[in-house]
Amino acid sequence: MSDIPVFFLHGLAYAGLLFLVSAGLTLVFGMMNVLNFAHAAMYMLGAYFSYTMLQATDQFWLSLMVCPVLLFVIGALIERFLLRRVHVFGHLHELLLTFGLAYIITEVVKWVWGNFPLAVNIGGLLGDTVEIIGITYPVYRIFIFLCAVFVGTLMALILYRTRLGIILRAAVNDSEMVNALGFNVPLVFMGVFAFGAALSGFAGVIAGPLLTTYPGMAHDILIDAFVVIVVGGFGSLGGAVIASLLIGELQSFGVLLFPKLSVALVYLLMAAVLIVKPSGLFGEES
């Protein structure tokens, strides 16, 4: 069974990508209590921006820097001019708005880039393969996992070790009090939403070469990312780590062991978690 290490590594790579997507989702949900349906659409936008940039410049690293910045700006604009406007109507309207935005972004993507998959090739070291534990393995998949570790560590450090993190966590608990203490809470929320968008863009750039860039990619990852935050617990970063690993490996080994059932396995896991612990593995009981 020499397949097992390979599938394990595949699982790790997919878990890394899942974490990058669901971290932004769970951050925005945890901080602002907004379930952002447009998150995966912004991830797709990141992938398409990156595709266009790679066509023009052929610089993967540059695109990895620039595309998240573009998405950051888009996210900030969405929060400032659209989301904040419907905030007074309650969560239902915020959800409907992000859902409508996802719908529009998907249609725009089909319009601009066409309704077909676009392959992204990256040359250089990242496109190469490497020998680890006796198997030849693509460098790029290892790179994805390392990116996820890097982003996860960075987020944890910011949230739990800096002054900004303290303000953020306090704003979640009692935004009025934090506002009264002189911090600009609306600006903080705008920053959080924009950071979530930038994170989704980053994930999109990374996903392009792995999964190809296509208009259905938003929907495909959205469901998996939702399952991650259901299983991990809403708004929990640690939960997202564990759940991403679980689901990444489950997807990977599901294909190996039960090819026919592989799609259903993830949902079965979700249903099981819902029955046993409805708030998710690391969620707080509400």
Binding site: L35, V86, L97, I104, L222
Partner: protein, 333 residues
């Protein structure tokens, strides 16, 4: 302006009479469209019982619609000589069962959590429909022929567009009227009051979880009936009937029509299908226009078309602002 007690019944009778006369006026193409509108009107009404009346935003309503559609298709193919009534009854039974089981799991959560979980469940059903090729036909879908309608004293051939239109008008129309009746019952009023203040309802001794489960199961069965007619209408059923896009469609219809009234979603279905038919002739980008209209409405007209119509009526009757049509009745009455 006080409505007379009998006004709704007169209105319903007039609508049925007008509907029954339509085959004399409309060409076949438009009659087909009207049949589709009636089917989707029922689907949208059932969705609005969740969204507008109970305040539950579901992204999984297509699992019932698709379950109804597939039950009819599969049972007509595999059980020779099955009557149309039995096929419809099977669809209702299946969707009731699915609604009860899924509702038991999903309704443990509210708000955003509920929305997310319904979406995941819908995706599960879609995945099964796509993979289970031997039963559902996978990507190819299933073709069926409409069986004859046995009425006991006579048999009607439903192959024609007109006869099927009348059949749809009577059965689906009756289902819509039943949904309206449901909103007037004590159960329907309970759901409305739960949306307004659940704590108080619990305090008054209502079991809100059971009420919500009953509502969810009921709307599921109604959506299943709409799905069954969808299969019968197109004489075809594919996995698109159970896809998330089908939920998106009903959400757009309901919201554009307006969640604040009972009739808003029906208007939404009418507008959506007419727009779909005409805009798709002019441009391939019509979903983009629908999306833009949707976001515009979320931002500026959260009450949808029915809100516009009601404020227009308010101008004529010199009433200050539109009333709240879905307010719960006084408890004493």
């Amino acid at each position: 302006m006080m409505l007379h007690k009998n006004t709704p019944y007169l209105l319903i009778a007039a609508l049925f009479a007008a509907g029954a006369a339509m085959p004399l006026v409309l060409k076949q193409y438009h009659l087909n469209m009207l049949t589709e509108i009636i089917v989707f009107a029922l689907y949208a009404v059932s969705y609005n019982l969740l969204l507008g009346y109970a305040g539950l935003l579901s992204f999984g309503h297509a699992m019932f619609f698709g379950m109804g559609a597939f039950t009819v298709a599969v049972s007509l193919i595999h059980i020779p000589g099955l009557s149309i009534w039995s096929a419809l009854a099977l669809a209702l039974a299946m969707t009731t069962l699915v609604g009860f089981v899924a509702g038991g799991l999903l309704l443990r959560h509210k708000g955003s959590y509920f929305a997310l979980l319904t979406l995941a469940f819908n995706s599960l059903f879609y995945a099964v429909a796509t993979k289970w090729h031997t039963i559902t036909g996978g990507d190819d879908g299933l073709s069926v022929t409409r069986p004859n309608l046995a009425l006991g004293f006579t048999t009607v051939n439903l192959a024609g567009i007109e006869s099927f239109y009348w059949f749809t008008l009577v059965i689906v129309g009756a289902a819509i009227v039943f949904c309206w009746y449901f909103t007037q019952t004590a159960m329907g009023q309970t759901v409305l009051m739960m949306r307004e203040n659940e704590e108080r309802m619990k305090f008054l001794g209502y079991n809100t979880n059971i009420s919500r489960l009953i509502l969810f199961t009921f709307t599921g069965a109604v959506a299943g009936l709409a799905g069954a007619f969808y299969t019968l209408h197109f004489q075809f059923c594919s996995q698109s009937a159970i896809s998330v896009d089908m939920t998106t469609t009903v959400l757009l219809m309901t919201f554009v029509g307006g969640t604040g009234t009972f009739w808003g979603p029906m208007l939404g279905a009418l507008v959506y299908i007419i727009l779909q038919n005409y805009l798709s002739d002019i441009t391939d980008r019509w979903p983009l226009f629908m999306g833009l209209i949707f976001v515009f409405m979320v931002l500026f007209i959260p009450g949808g078309l029915s809100q516009i119509l009601q404020s227009a009526r308010g101008l004529f009757t010199r009433r200050r602002g539109p009333g709240k049509p879905m307010e719960a009745k006084e408890a004493s009455s």
